[in-house]
């Protein structure tokens, strides 16, 4: 009986601690998530890619009354997504340090520069729904090798995940960010050709008779 009582006390104490920690408003999260390699159409083009400092280093931080000490770091999956997607879309991908820097004789057809514009989060308590939500907004710029802008467009990714028993706030936000990144990747792969001016640029670079499905 004593053994049973001790076990019950332990279980209820753990539940109480879990409830207390769930009520804390601070968030420290390093996002880790699975991002699949896409089934993309390969363009016979050589791409340079430039990640801005902002894209590589920005961490979401907020310290308000409602969101005390929020620190959400998704720098790694942000870069991993493009590192996985671009080689499936282009014949070759060359990382470069700046848009206007010469590429030491390497032949590139264009330079892609993704940049992070905005990140937003919503918690179930804030929206009165059962979902953790994340929105991520990027600006994508495509340059000619000499630095002249070919096209600029915006990409928004949205991710949500429902609340569930024993799912913490950080788990919920982690999943929401991963889905938002996945959404951005999907839109990038499928809408690349539809961005203003990109279709004409592709048509000028490849042999449309050989690749009719790309023109």
């Amino acid at each position: 009986m004593n053994k049973f009582r001790t076990s019950l006390t332990h279980v209820l104490s753990c539940l109480l601690l879990a409830l207390i920690s769930a009520c804390s408003s601070s968030v420290k999260l390093q996002v880790k998530g699975e991002l699949p390699t896409p089934l993309a159409t390969l363009y016979p083009l050589n791409l340079g890619v430039h990640y801005t400092d902002n894209f590589l280093n920005q961490i979401y931080q907020e310290n308000t009354k409602e969101r005390e000490n929020w620190n959400i770091d998704y720098r790694q999956p942000r870069k991993t997504l493009f590192d996985q997607i671009l080689p499936t879309m282009f014949q070759s991908v060359l990382p470069i340090t700046a848009v206007s820097v010469p590429t030491d004789g390497a032949v590139i057809d264009a330079i892609l520069e993704p940049d992070l514009v905005e990140t937003q989060f919503a918690l179930p308590d804030e929206t009165q729904t059962d979902n953790y939500e994340a929105w991520i907004k990027y600006t994508i710029k495509l340059y000619q090798p000499d630095g002249k802008l070919i096209s600029e467009w915006q990409l928004t990714g949205y991710g949500k995940t429902p609340t569930a028993m024993f799912t913490s706030k950080t788990d919920g936000l982690n999943t929401a960010v991963t889905y938002a990144l996945r959404d951005i990747g999907a839109r990038f792969v499928l809408d690349f050709r539809k961005a203003p001016g990109v279709q004409q640029w592709i048509a000028g670079k490849i042999n449309c008779a050989e690749y009719p499905y790309l023109c």
């Binding site: 019950l8 896409p38 429902p162 990747g185 999907a186 792969v189 499928l190």
Partner: protein, 217 residues
């Protein structure tokens, strides 16, 4: 005395509670032809609504139940399919009707992957389970060397799902199956909480899977 009261509550709850009611409807658009051995079915959740999300575990449950029912037919797990077909079947990019699926297979990489899977039927499930009514209350306390709960809580669950079946071979809508379930759960607690749960979602899952299995046989 307390023990007798406990027994009475439990007996009453068993006799009156935890009852599930389920309704299943079927609509057939085209006559389905027999599946060949080695052909596959993929069960996918529609998650385009902003107000709810079709649960991943419900889709997994329907897939697993269908697998037991249709021997010799391959059921592709949702996550495996979504990752393999990325980015064509994401929430924001998935085809909403069978005509769009026809357009999608014009992309050589997509057509090849779907042929590799030997897909015959797509089963799209849209819906969710929600708690519609809560009542009662329960208090729990922890002290030095003692812990316990006292009270009575109950709630109603309601589930509503619709499955749309596409024939990939014929590129047409095969039919639709819908299921509605509801039930009430109770938790009486005298020191120890005793949950008596109505298995609304799992009931909806088995009814849906059995009906899909019969539909495709």
């Amino acid at each position: 005395m307390l023990s007798n009261a406990c027994k009475l509550i439990v007996l009453l709850v068993f006799l009156t509670g935890c009852s599930n009611t389920t309704t299943v409807d079927e609509y057939r658009e085209n006559e389905s032809t027999a599946m060949l051995e080695g052909e596959s079915i993929v069960v996918l959740g529609r998650r385009s609504s902003t107000s709810y999300e079709t649960e991943f575990d419900f889709i997994t449950c329907v897939g697993n139940t269908l697998k037991n029912k249709l021997r010799g037919i391959n059921i592709i797990p949702e996550k495996e399919f979504l990752n393999s077909m990325y980015p064509y079947f994401e929430t924001s990019t998935a085809p909403m009707d069978v005509q769009n699926l026809d357009k999608l297979v014009q992309t050589p990489a997509v057509a090849k992957k779907l042929n590799d899977f030997r897909i015959r039927y797509f089963v799209w499930i849209d819906g969710f389970t929600e708690t519609t009514n809560n009542s009662g209350s329960m208090s729990c306390a922890v002290g030095v060397g003692i812990a316990g709960c006292l009270g009575f809580a109950s709630w109603d669950d309601k589930s509503n799902y619709e499955a749309t079946i596409w024939d990939f071979k014929e590129l047409n809508l095969e039919g639709k199956i819908s299921t509605q379930s509801s039930g009430t759960s109770y938790v009486p607690a005298v020191i120890i909480p005793l949950p008596l749960l109505a298995r609304v979602q799992s009931g909806a899952c088995s009814n849906m899977a059995n009906q899909i299995g019969s539909f495709l046989k």
